[in-house]
C-alpha cells in the first residue's frame, strides 16, 4: 500500500495535474512546491508523450511544449528525486500520469522500481483498461505502488469488477470525450459514484472538465476528491516560468471551496 490514502485524510481531496517540463522542469519543481503549500492533497505529474490520445487540446499542447523543451523520463525522475530530498522535501503523495508506451519502452520493471525509489506513490495510465492491467499491476504491487483504475460514464456492467480490484484511489471520469474544460457536466456523477461506493471502499476522485470552484464543490458532494488538470495547465500556458504563484493561489481557492 502506498501513501495515497493519506491524501484522503484531510477532508475532500484536491488533486491538481500538471505536465512535467511545461514550460521547463525548474518551473514544474516550483509549481509542485507551491501546490503543496497551497493545500494540494495529492499531485498528479504528467510525463509528456508525443501522442496523448486521451487529452484535449490544452494538455496536448502542454505535452508538445514539454517535449520541445527536451523533457525526458530520466529528467523527470531527477526532478522528483530533488523534490523528495533535502530539508525542504515535498511530503505530499505524488503519482505519475502517462501513457503505456512511456512505461513499457523504458522497461516496465525498471520504470516502476525507479518510481518506488524516488518516492512516487502510484501510476495512472489512461490507455490501460482493466483487461490489460495484468502486465503492470504485478510489478506495481511488487514495488509498493498503486495502479489507479479509471471508471467512465460508459462503464456500465464493468464498475463492480473494476472497483473491487481497485487500489490507491478510483479515478472517476466525469464525462465522455477527452480531458479539457467543460461548461457543463451532464453525467449523473452521483449515480456513478454511488455504484462505485457500493462495490469498493477505495476513495474515489472525479476528474475531466472541472475548472471552476463551483464545479469542484458540486463534484465534491459525490466523491472523496476532485481532480483538475486543463484549468491549471491553461494558467501555466499563460504565465510560463512565473506560474508557481498563480497556480498556488488557484489550488488554495479550490481546496478551500471543496473543504
Amino acid at each position: 500500500m502506498s501513501n495515497i490514502h493519506k491524501a484522503f485524510e484531510n477532508g475532500k481531496a484536491f488533486i491538481p495535474f500538471i505536465t512535467c517540463g511545461d514550460p521547463d522542469l525548474e518551473t514544474t519543481e516550483a509549481i509542485v512546491r507551491a501546490m503543496e503549500k497551497a493545500g494540494a492533497d495529492l499531485i498528479e505529474l504528467g510525463i509528456p508523450f508525443s501522442d496523448p490520445t486521451a487529452e484535449g487540446p490544452v494538455i496536448q499542447e502542454a505535452n508538445i511544449r514539454a517535449l520541445s523543451a527536451g523533457t525526458t523520463t530520466d529528467k523527470v525522475f531527477d526532478m522528483v528525486r530533488t523534490l523528495r530530498s533535502g530539508d525542504d522535501a515535498v511530503k505530499v503523495p505524488m503519482v505519475f500520469m502517462t501513457y503505456a508506451n512511456v512505461v513499457f519502452s523504458y522497461g516496465s520493471e525498471r520504470f516502476i522500481s525507479t518510481c518506488a525509489e524516488i518516492g512516487i506513490d502510484g501510476l495512472i495510465l489512461p490507455d490501460i483498461p482493466y483487461e490489460e492491467k495484468g502486465e503492470f499491476v504485478d510489478i506495481t504491487r511488487k514495488y509498493g505502488l498503486d495502479l489507479v483504475s479509471l471508471i467512465a460514464p460508459t462503464s456500465e456492467g464493468r464498475i463492480c469488477k473494476i472497483a473491487s480490484s481497485a487500489e490507491g484511489f478510483i479515478y472517476v471520469v466525469s464525462s465522455l470525450g477527452v480531458t479539457g474544460v467543460r461548461s457543463n457536466i451532464t453525467t449523473d456523477v452521483g449515480k456513478l459514484c454511488g455504484a462505485i461506493k457500493a462495490a469498493s471502499s477505495v476513495p474515489c476522485a472525479i476528474g475531466f472538465g472541472i475548472s471552476t470552484p463551483e464545479q469542484a464543490a458540486a463534484m465534491a458532494e459525490h466523491a472523496d476528491g476532485v481532480i483538475v488538470g486543463s484549468a491549471i495547465v491553461k494558467l501555466i500556458a499563460a504565465n510560463g516560468r512565473n506560474s508557481a504563484t498563480v497556480v498556488g493561489e488557484f489550488v488554495k481557492l479550490m481546496k478551500e471551496t471543496i473543504s
Binding site: P126, P129, E131, T154, G177
Partner: protein, 396 residues
C-alpha cells in the same frame, strides 16, 4: 485477470481508455453474431460483386515477366475496385455491420485519402453521416481526395496536431469516438488498433487472398511461390497473405516504406527500424525514440506514412512466416513509372513499393516460379506528387 483479448502472439490487445471499452466489446459481440449470419454474408457478397466490382482480376503481366526475365508475374488488380483501392472491401463490411448495429454515423481516419473516400462512399450508399479525419499535411498532398470526400457528402476535418499525418488522424478519430459513441461507429481503415479491429479488417480484406488462390488454381493449377504486397498498417498485405498462411510453401513478403532510407530518420519502415511498444490500442512494433516517444515518420506515400504495423504482421515477423523488406521513395517512384510504361497500369505509390521489390526479386527466381503482386490501388491520386518529385510543377 489475464483476460486480454485479441492477441497475435505477444501482440495486439486492447490498450484504450476505459470510456471506449464497452464500445469495442459491443462491436466484438455484434461482429461475432453477424459474421455467422447468412443474410449478412449474402448482403456483403452482393455489395462486393455488384457495387465494388469484385472479384478483381488476377492479371498475367507478360511484358513485365519477359522484361525482368525471371519468375512469372501476376498482378492482383485491387486498383480496379470501385473507389480505386482495396479499402472498399473493409469499408463495405464495417459500414454494413455498423448499420446492423443501429449506428447512423461513421467516422474514419485517412492518410492517402483512399480509406476516407471509401468510407464516404459507403456512407453515401447506406445513408449514413460521415466525418473523416485527415492530417493537415496529407490534405495538401492529397487535395483531390479531400474534394472527392466532400463531393460524396462527408465532412473532412484537417488535423493539425502532432505531425499532421496519418498517426495524428488516427489519434483524433479515437478522441472523437470517445466523445460520441452511441450513434457512431469508428470505421478503422487498417489491421491495427484495439481488438477486434485487426481481426475484423483482416477478415473483410481476406477476400483478396481467397480470390488469388482460386484464380491461381484456375490459371496455373497450383499455388504461387510468393505473394508480395506493400505494408503500412498492413490491410492489403494481410488480405493478400491470409489464406496462404497455412500454405508454408508460399513465400509472403511485405514491403515497407523506407522513405529516404532505413539508415535515415526520414523513414516509415516499422519492422526494419522500430521496436516493440504500445500505441493506438495495440502492442506491436513502432518507430519510436529511446523514451517511447512516437517518431515523426516519413514516406513519399501518405498511405504508408504510419509509425506502426498491425499486430498480426508483427507476429508473422516474429515467427518468420512473412518477411518484411524496406523500399525507398526513389525505388517506389521508379517502379511507379516502370509499371505505367511496361503494362499500361498506373499503380498507387503505395503499391509501387511492392512492384519495386518484385523488380529486384523476380529476376533472381527461375522461370517456372510464380509471384503475385497485389496492386492495392490506382495511381491517379499520386500523379501530381510524383511529377513534383521529378521537378515538374503540375496542378490538379
Amino acid at each position: 485477470m489475464a483476460d486480454s483479448k485479441g492477441r497475435f502472439g505477444i501482440h495486439g490487445g486492447q490498450y484504450i481508455p476505459e470510456t471506449l471499452m464497452n464500445a469495442v466489446i459491443e462491436l466484438e459481440e455484434a461482429y461475432n453474431h453477424f459474421k455467422a449470419d447468412p443474410e449478412f454474408n449474402r448482403e456483403l457478397t452482393d455489395l462486393f460483386n455488384n457495387y465494388a466490382g469484385r472479384p478483381s482480376l488476377l492479371y498475367y503481366a507478360e511484358k513485365m515477366t519477359k522484361d525482368l526475365g525471371g519468375a512469372k508475374i501476376y498482378l492482383k488488380r485491387e486498383d480496379l475496385n470501385h473507389t480505386g483501392s482495396h479499402k472498399i472491401n473493409n469499408v463495405l463490411g464495417q459500414a454494413l455491420l455498423a448499420k446492423k448495429m443501429g449506428k447512423t454515423r461513421l467516422i474514419a481516419e485517412t492518410g492517402a485519402g483512399q480509406h476516407g473516400v471509401a468510407t464516404a462512399t459507403a456512407a453515401a450508399l447506406m445513408g449514413m453521416e460521415c466525418v473523416v479525419f485527415m492530417g493537415e499535411e496529407d490534405t495538401k498532398r492529397q487535395a483531390l481526395n479531400v474534394y472527392r470526400m466532400k463531393l460524396l457528402g462527408a465532412s473532412v476535418v484537417s488535423v493539425k496536431s502532432g505531425t499532421g499525418t496519418l498517426k495524428d488522424a488516427v489519434s483524433e478519430a479515437m478522441r472523437e469516438w470517445t466523445s460520441r459513441i452511441d450513434d457512431t461507429h469508428y470505421c478503422l481503415g487498417s489491421v491495427m488498433g484495439p481488438h477486434p479491429f485487426p481481426t475484423i479488417v483482416r477478415d473483410f480484406q481476406a477476400v483478396i487472398s481467397r480470390e488469388i488462390k482460386q484464380q491461381m488454381l484456375d490459371a496455373e493449377g497450383r499455388l504461387p511461390d510468393a505473394v508480395i504486397a506493400c505494408c503500412g498498417g498492413g490491410s492489403n498485405a494481410i488480405g493478400s497473405f491470409y489464406n496462404f498462411i497455412e500454405d508454408k510453401e508460399v513465400e509472403l513478403i511485405g514491403c515497407e516504406a523506407a522513405g529516404r532510407g532505413i539508415d535515415t530518420y526520414e523513414t516509415a519502415a516499422t519492422i526494419n527500424t522500430g521496436k516493440l511498444g504500445i500505441f493506438h490500442g495495440m502492442k506491436s512494433y513502432f518507430c519510436q525514440d529511446e523514451y517511447g516517444q512516437i517518431a515523426p515518420v516519413y514516406s513519399i506515400s501518405a498511405g504508408l506514412d504510419y509509425p506502426g504495423i498491425g499486430p498480426e504482421h508483427a507476429m508473422l515477423h516474429d515467427t518468420g512466416r512473412a518477411n518484411y523488406v524496406a523500399v525507398t521513395d526513389f525505388e517506389a517512384v521508379e517502379a511507379f513509372e516502370y509499371l505505367s510504361r511496361t503494362e499500361g497500369i498506373i499503380p498507387a505509390i503505395e503499391s509501387a513499393h511492392a512492384v519495386a521489390y518484385a523488380r529486384k526479386y523476380a529476376p533472381t527466381l527461375d522461370k517456372d516460379k510464380i509471384i503475385v503482386i497485389t496492386i492495392s490501388g490506382r495511381g491517379d491520386k499520386d500523379c501530381a506528387a510524383i511529377a513534383r518529385y521529378r521537378g515538374e510543377e503540375i496542378y490538379e
